[in-house]
């Protein structure tokens, strides 16, 4: 009996060891977004709360915490309040299988990659339920756009990850990273370059971010599926969206950029010289680059038109992945390069 409690305690300890840094990362990702985009647009961004505005995320969170959660008339009250939970649940559950460094993973399961696909595909329920339960036409339109987009890009993303699975020969995420052991030309981004690009584009589309953010489309449908939400309920949606963005960045680093390995791992002089850097630093640096790209895109690109988004997903990205899977089969069969 005591052992059961001890196991449970350790499981909870591991979960919080992932969740607390994750929530902090989300908070400071919003701060980073506002500062970075501010500088890209030649203004300062938030700089009043705390030193250089560093306490701004907490000020925002407190403000949202004290606001009233208003439920629209004739809304389905139960589903309306359930929707934020449906969207944050999968968004944090995925993190269970992410390896942050060698052996730093909450649940080292064999079907890790499949689990990621399953959990990310669950996130769409939060969107659908929120839009339907709000009893608002803007929310419903936003829902239709968002969920159609997420469902479409999931296919391209799944195919891109199938390529990783073929190259690594395992679905275990730690195994995938270990299959890329070596300097940066050993990582999967090189043999899987088209799949890598497809993954990254569909990752941006999957999280409904600029330039694929028609689901929000302020000028047309106000704010999308969460237009009727206020206070903490809105904050939870926000948290889920940003947690998903960080997740896409970390998965990109794990699947294609060698996870926790340093870029010169195994190289004669530079390799041992960089060995003192812990693995998680490399992972965070790689993921941080993608996170910056998210913001860069948002500050730079104009919004796609809706039919163009659909065309890109179905008629460009999916054929590219299918073709490259065939090429990849040949590459693996011929045992090309340092990879296979």
């Amino acid at each position: 009996m005591f052992e059961t409690f001890e196991t449970l305690f350790w499981i909870f300890a591991k979960i919080w060891a992932v969740l607390i840094p994750l929530f902090l990362a989300v908070a400071y990702f919003t701060y980073m977004e506002r500062r970075v985009i501010g500088h890209m647009q030649d203004r300062r961004g938030p700089n009043r709360v705390g030193y250089k505005g560093l306490l701004q995320p907490f000020a925002d969170a407190l403000k949202l915490l004290f606001k009233e959660i208003s439920v629209p008339t004739h809304a389905n009250r139960v589903l309306f309040l359930l929707a934020p939970a449906l969207s944050i649940g999968p968004a944090v559950a995925v993190w269970a299988v992410i390896p942050f460094a060698d052996g730093w993973v909450v649940a080292d399961i064999n079907a890790g990659l499949l689990y990621i696909l399953a959990m990310t595909s669950l996130g769409v329920y939060g969107i659908i339920v929120a839009g339907w339960a709000s009893n608002s036409k803007y929310a419903l339109l936003g829902t239709l756009r968002a969920s159609a987009q997420v469902v479409s890009y999931e296919i391209a993303m799944g195919f891109a990850l199938v390529g990783v699975l073929m190259a690594a020969g395992t679905m275990n995420l730690s195994g995938i990273v270990e299959a890329q052991a070596g300097p940066f030309w050993n990582w999967f981004w090189l043999p899987l370059l088209p799949l890598f690009l497809v993954y990254w584009v569909s990752g941006v589309a999957e999280t409904n971010r600029a330039p694929f953010d028609v689901a929000e489309g302020e000028s047309e449908i106000v704010a999308g599926f969460h237009v009727e939400y206020s206070g903490m309920a809105f904050a939870v949606f926000f948290l889920a969206e940003y947690a998903n963005m960080i997740l896409i960045c970390v998965i990109a680093a794990v699947m294609f950029l060698g996870g926790w390995y340093s870029p010169f791992h195994g190289v004669p002089v530079l390799g041992p010289a960089l060995d003192w850097v812990p693995g998680i630093v490399w992972l965070l640096l790689k993921a941080g680059f993608f996170a910056f790209c998210y913001l860069w895109f948002r500050a730079t690109f104009p919004r796609y038109r809706y039919d163009q988004i659909m065309r890109l997903g179905w008629k460009v990205l999916i054929p590219v992945t299918v073709v490259w899977l065939v090429v990849l089969t040949v590459l693996i069969y011929a045992g090309v390069g340092p990879w296979f």
Binding site: L79, N110, A111, A118, S121, V124, Y125, I128, S147
Partner: protein, 208 residues
């Protein structure tokens, strides 16, 4: 511990399945079906079939039910008339239910399956659920597997052809043509002399 988890999720599964057929609102029924699928997946994972469990979530919960919900949300189904034919369809429903119960009973009680009292053998340490399924699927069952894939492909093509309709009076966007357009096709650059100030009796314009 494992039994407690099993009974918890089995109870939720039964509750959700009952709600699917008793709840009045079709959207809520679909959501309860999602819950039922999810709990079934948990039971499979608990039984050691992690691949099947997660595949159930990916395929049914992540894809099929999303489209299902889409359709139900779009249709304006009024709640009351759905129940009208209850007495009329009861005999058919009962026959189907009895048949399904019989089939399940035959499978569970048969000697070949030996589910009653039979224990699932512990997998060896280095054998991976997914690897094992993949190995069997692509060797022993390769023909049924491929045939099923072809049937699905035929179904996809059939569905697309059935719903494909070309409208003649619609303005289409031809993307390759748009991409191939050249500056010279759209734009003519004229060389003009700068205009003079109209200070000489109002005759300012000259042909450039």
């Amino acid at each position: 511990m494992e039994q407690a988890v099993f009974y918890l999720f089995a109870a939720i599964l039964l509750f959700a399945a009952t709600m699917v057929i008793t709840v009045r609102n079709p959207v809520q029924a679909a959501l309860f079906l999602v819950l039922a699928f999810f709990n079934a997946a948990v039971l499979w994972v608990l039984a050691g079939a992690e691949f099947l469990g997660i595949a159930l979530v990916v395929v049914y919960v992540g894809a099929v039910m999303v489209l299902f919900l889409f359709v139900v949300m779009m249709l304006d189904i009024t709640v009351a008339p759905v129940r009208e034919g209850f007495a009329r369809y009861l005999p058919v429903g009962l026959v189907v239910a009895v048949l399904m119960a019989l089939q399940l009973g035959v499978v569970i009680l048969s000697d070949e399956v030996a589910l009653v009292g039979g224990l699932i053998p512990e997998p060896a340490a280095d054998v991976n659920n997914i690897r094992a399924i993949g190995g069997v699927l692509y060797t022993v069952y390769v023909y049924p597997f491929e045939i099923a894939a072809v049937i699905l492909l035929v179904a996809i093509i059939a569905a697309i052809t059935l719903t494909l309709r070309r409208r003649t009076n619609m303005k289409h966007q031809d993307i390759p043509e748009q991409l191939n357009v050249h500056k010279d096709d759209r734009l003519r650059v004229l060389k003009m002399e700068t205009e003079r100030r109209p200070d000489r009796g109002g005759v300012g314009h000259e042909e450039g």
